[in-house]
């Protein structure tokens, strides 16, 4: 191997925005000059678009089975995905997929031969299933977004305590596994069962409640909820839940129990801490309450809402005046598909429909693209707005709740349009 391998030719690099059809001639951006710029040095820190400081986070490659990630917490491991990852493909690679664990003991050694998934409680026939048992069952595949309910907490105003996430506590993967319905049918759910409760290998700190989440029986039996053993065609990274993860399409990732090992059929509604007290939001459509309100009706944070993000332009970036600019991003419909995405370059005063990329299923990311024909000099507030197939549209006003959960408002990226000549004039 040569000491200084030549960089790959430009043509060999994957095109950005690879999930969209090639731009037609009217939207084509002129090719850059023939001489490729030298590769930029690898960044060591990321700046998140939070409501206040501190906004900088180190980038780390120190975590097993993970590439470059934004470090939120070492212990327990909490890692955020960089926005540029979402710009490259609507499927988030396993080694760049976000990670979140609660305080306590994270499973770090799992023997795939000895691992068992137990099904017990109000069932006819309790089960203890090996991975081989599960892999011998009928397989299904679903593309779905795993998003932490606290994604974007760092943008809440007034600020709230907790992991100060930017927008990268989310990822979209193709999950392969067995429908939960088939496992429950094998166990024989007894009459009177109201909920199924799920638990993984993670252990809380001594004295803290065990982490468990429950789904209503009808939801658990809907055929879309699966027990997955593969993520994007490979075994899951340990930090993403190897060897089994519950996949609840359209619902927040706190239900997606990692290293799933225990399913219990309950004949009364689950009253454990993480259903009855923790991870709850105002019981209204937008999980919204006026800051400081006490004693509001609450419900477990569950169904996701439509969201959208700009992925190829970041805050503070400079655009050239009078030169067409392509703005690109991703959208999600929440517990529905993406019906449309609209784009604004004037802070939401006027909107134009964005072009949508390939539909890879209602629960996955969908790429979108818009064009600013002639950016005028000055500051531009770029926004995208998703409307789901369920008819829900992102709003301009952010929701607020004390947990910093379920943010889903229209997000903004601010850029400056100025020519290099104008800048050098200003400096003189």
């Amino acid at each position: 191997m040569p000491a200084n391998p030549a960089p790959p030719p430009a043509a060999a690099r994957p095109p950005a925005g690879g999930d969209l059809p090639p731009p037609d001639s009217t939207t084509a951006v002129p090719e850059p000059a023939a001489e490729p710029p030298p590769p930029a040095p690898e960044p060591t820190a990321a700046t998140l678009p939070l409501a206040g400081p501190p906004r900088d986070r180190p980038l780390t490659k120190d975590f097993p089975q993970k590439g470059r990630m934004i470090l939120q917490s070492t212990r327990p491991p909490v890692l955020e995905t960089e926005m540029e990852v979402f710009d490259k493909t609507v499927i988030t690679p396993n080694d760049r997929f976000y990670v979140e664990w609660h305080a306590g003991t994270v499973p770090t050694a799992i023997n795939a031969l000895f691992f068992r998934l137990t099904v017990h409680g109000n069932v006819v026939k309790p089960l203890s299933l090996s991975l081989a048992d599960l892999k011998a069952m009928k397989k299904v595949e679903i593309t779905a977004i795993d998003q932490a309910p606290g994604n974007s907490r760092g943008l809440f105003q007034p600020r709230v305590p907790g992991i100060q996430w930017g927008h990268g506590a989310m990822g979209n993967a193709k999950w392969t596994g067995v429908p939960l319905r088939d496992i429950l049918t094998m166990a024989g759910i007894r009459p009177g069962t109201v909920q199924l409760r799920f638990k993984g290998l993670a252990k809380p700190v001594p004295g803290a409640p065990e982490y468990m989440k429950s789904l209503n029986l009808a939801h658990a039996m809907n055929g879309e909820v699966i027990v997955a053993f593969a993520m994007n065609g490979a075994p899951m990274p340990v930090l993403n839940g190897f060897p089994l993860r519950l996949i609840v399409p359209g619902w927040y990732g706190n239900y997606w129990i990692k290293a799933l090992t225990d399913i219990e059929a309950l004949s009364t509604p689950d009253d454990n801490y993480w259903m009855a007290s923790g991870e709850r939001v105002p019981a209204n459509r937008n999980a919204d309450v006026a800051p400081g309100t006490m004693g509001f009706d609450s419900a477990p944070v569950s169904r996701m809402a439509p969201r959208s993000f700009i992925t190829n332009v970041t805050n503070g970036e400079k655009l050239m005046p009078d030169k067409p600019a392509i703005v690109r991003g991703i959208a999600m419909g929440g517990d529905n598909g993406v019906a449309r995405v609209d784009f604004s370059s004037d802070g939401g005063l006027s909107w134009m429909p964005a072009k949508l990329g390939k539909d890879t299923g209602k629960y996955g990311f969908r790429q979108w693209e818009a064009r600013i024909a002639k950016p005028a000099a000055g500051k531009l507030a770029l926004m995208s707005r998703c409307t789901s197939t369920g008819g829900q549209t992102q709003s301009m006003t952010p929701n607020w709740n004390p947990g910093g959960l379920a943010r889903n408002a229209i997000e903004m990226v601010q850029v400056t349009v100025s020519s290099p000549e104008a800048e050098s004039d200003a400096l003189q």
């Binding site: 206040g52 994270v106 770090t108 050694a109 799992i110 031969l113 809380p204 409640p209």
Partner: protein, 121 residues
């Protein structure tokens, strides 16, 4: 320290682990066990907070569950908000925090890096 989850899982399920496999798992955590074991090593993280003026109480009471990054990344919040967080850690999550430590922890959280953090409530 970290528990060997396989060991505990194995005991819970009543699996017939061979004595050799148990011993290996218990005493030599870095060695692979029999079968296809997925094993990872996580970076340890820091054991002390920077800015030592008030850090001792925070080191002693917070770092067993939260890493330094999580604490240092918190926004400016009032003493009342942080007091409620400490109470939640104590009553909900079983944290053994000596009541005498509250003032020291609050002093750290409201003055991280010397900035007075009481902008809300």
């Amino acid at each position: 320290m970290r528990f060997n989850n396989l060991l505990y899982c194995g005991i819970a399920l009543g699996l017939a682990l061979s004595p050799a496999a148990v011993a290996k798992g218990k005493h030599k955590a870095a060695q692979p066990m029999t079968g296809e074991t997925a094993r990872i090593e996580l970076p340890p993280g820091d054991d002390v907070l920077p800015d030592r003026r008030y850090a001792e109480a925070a080191d002693r009471n917070c770092l067993s569950c939260h890493s330094t990054e999580t604490i240092l990344n918190q926004p400016a919040l009032s003493r009342d908000v942080w007091k409620a967080e400490i109470d939640k850690m104590r009553t909900v999550f079983g944290a053994q925090i000596d009541p005498d430590a509250d003032d020291g922890i609050l002093a750290y959280l409201t003055t991280i890096n010397g900035v007075r953090r009481d902008t809300w409530r």
